[in-house]
């Protein structure tokens, strides 16, 4: 891939719900290897934007391109190399941590039903690969000791970590994180930050994240996009955005409302 071409290109995306405009001609680029944060007050359209990028919502206008190809359907995403986590955890709560993480990369398998049932042909090799990949993720996120536990019985902070693991398992090129630290304690947040940085540095994953905690965002991100009332009001480095009068106005203005 050409170094100068962006990994993700979002162009003029608009989205309405029954006449209420959630996104108004929002566009931005994310380059390969970058950590990009989307911030903004409540109701600014952050989650809507992430849902459009991950194909869950269909934009009324505009386009989303990944590696130059237009994306439209949610089910193509994993095969393209995009993974995401959800604000309210999408996990298999009745299954073990290891099974959850293995399921994350499951769609890559090619062995047929019969090969798997009788452990022939491609099945054992694929099984080994998926197990090795899962082990690496378990170690990276420091959840190896919980691998046989049922996810639904783990504390919330750990469940969030399992979901991150599930999303990282297929080694996506782009990972979308919807409020990865929402509802966490201070210690859990600090750990989560560390794991996100590890994923970024060791696996080379490009990240797009939504986060409320501005301290976290400013520390983690190379690139910050600010939304307010469905419009993009700022786009630049953390430093530049922090001093942007429009951003200060949006945040302070919302406090006063």
């Amino acid at each position: 891939m050409n170094d100068s071409a962006p990994l993700l290109e979002v162009q003029d995306v608009s989205l309405s719900f029954d006449g209420v405009r959630a996104l108004d001609r929002v566009g931005f680029d994310v380059r390969g290897g970058e950590v990009c944060a989307i911030i903004g007050p409540n109701g600014a359209g952050k989650s809507s934007l992430l849902n459009v990028v991950s194909g869950l919502y269909r934009a009324g206008a505009g386009s989303v391109r990944f590696e130059g190809r237009e994306i439209s359907r949610a089910k193509e995403l994993s095969a393209l190399g995009i993974a995401r986590t959800f604000q309210n955890l999408a996990l298999f709560r009745g299954m073990s941590v290891l099974e959850n993480i293995e399921l994350g990369s499951d769609f890559r398998g090619r062995a047929t039903f019969l090969e798997q049932a009788f452990r022939l042909g491609r099945a054992p090799r694929e099984e080994r690969r998926s197990r090795d990949d899962a082990r690496e993720i378990l170690a990276l996120l420091e959840i190896a000791k919980h691998k046989s536990e049922i996810v639904g019985r783990l504390p919330y902070g750990l469940q969030k970590r399992v979901e991150l693991g599930r999303a990282l398992a297929p080694r996506p090129k782009l990972l979308l994180l919807d409020e990865p630290m929402a509802g966490m304690t201070f210690d859990e947040k600090r750990d989560m930050c560390r794991f996100i940085i590890h994923a970024h540095e060791r696996l080379g994953t490009t990240l797009v994240l939504i986060e409320h905690d501005l301290g976290v965002v400013m520390d983690l991100s190379d690139h910050v996009i600010v939304l307010d009332h469905g419009r993009k009001i700022a786009d630049g480095t953390a430093e530049a955005v922090r001093n942007d009068p429009a951003v200060i106005e949006a945040y302070v203005g919302n406090f006063l409302d």
């Binding site: 089910k75 999408a90 709560r93 499951d106 297929p170």
Partner: protein, 293 residues
């Protein structure tokens, strides 16, 4: 004492026959949350297909293979034609769709196979084995063996194959399943195809016992108490449920029925099921409906 044992074992073996029917429900319920009222019609359709092919001179293995193919195709077609357009519809709409499907399937079976009663000979007699200390029907023992093999095969498929793990995952959380890129429609088609094959096995065993006729689709009614007692979403549950229903109805018939004029075998399981509904609505092994608020 030997008599009690004989009644008990006879009941347990009869219960396995109920379990075979209930298994088809569980496969579909687990994967898609649909209560498939047409499972009984599928049992009938499968048995009629096999019998008709046999009567046209097909040898047992070929007739069996052809029937498996027909049931797989039927299951996949039902998923494609009936359920896919109803994705995200209310559970009641899906249930009613399967109710309609039951009538369509029965009518279709009458149209192509006619309405005669067919005998089905699996080559195993329903007569008791004399050499054992207690009398046990050979067919019952055979059915138990088939059921054990079927459950073991399902267990292997659910634990080791991608489709099996995928089906468990979809049953657990459909949203997460989409998030990891599982193909829900393909998995549902697999569940329906599997339920079709289970229906064939149940149809052959029941057909060998009572003959292949339209009342065969009513065996679903006996599967209901099994499902209520065992739970709709657990394979282990319907095994236990089937055994409980089979054993209790026979014991009740012999030891209680004689005091009240008999015939309680036909309704006893439903009374038991109502008792379970009051005491344990999710069944012995069903997932408890706990919603975090």
């Amino acid at each position: 004492m030997a008599f009690l044992l004989e009644v008990l074992i006879g009941g347990l073996l009869a219960g396995i026959m109920y379990t075979m029917v209930a298994l088809g429900f569980v496969l579909i319920y687990k994967a898609s949350g649909v209560f498939n009222f047409a499972q009984g019609a599928m049992v009938l359709f499968a048995a009629l297909t096999f019998v008709t092919l046999s009567e046209h001179g097909l040898a047992f293995p070929w007739a069996l293979a052809a029937s498996v193919a027909v049931m797989l195709a039927l299951g996949v077609t039902i998923e494609r034609v009936v359920l896919r357009p109803l994705v995200n519809a209310a559970p009641m709409a899906l249930f009613l769709a399967t109710l309609g499907l039951a009538f369509v399937l029965e009518g279709f079976a009458q149209l192509i196979y006619g309405t005669q009663v067919h005998g089905l000979e699996l080559g195993i007699s329903d007569a008791p084995i004399r050499s054992l200390p207690i009398e046990v029907s050979k067919l019952d023992l055979f059915a138990a063996g088939v059921a054990a093999a079927l459950v073991a095969a399902l267990g292997v498929l659910f634990q080791t194959t991608r489709a099996g793990v995928g089906l468990r995952a979809v049953a657990d959380d459909p949203v997460a399943a989409v998030a990891v890129g599982l193909d829900l429609q393909r998995l549902w088609a697999i569940a329906w195809g599997g339920a079709g094959v289970v229906a064939l096995v149940a149809g052959l065993l029941w057909g060998a016992r009572v003959g292949v006729q339209f009342s065969l689709s009513l065996v679903v009614l006996k599967a209901l108490p099994v499902l209520i007692i065992g739970g709709f979403s657990s394979i282990g549950g319907v095994i236990a449920g089937g055994l409980i229903v089979g054993a209790s109805e026979k014991l009740a018939e012999v030891y209680v029925g004689s005091h009240v004029g008999g015939g309680i075998e036909t309704w006893f399981p439903y009374v038991l099921a109502v008792g379970f509904l009051i005491a344990r609505p999710t069944g012995l092994f069903g997932e408890r409906l706990v919603e975090r608020v």
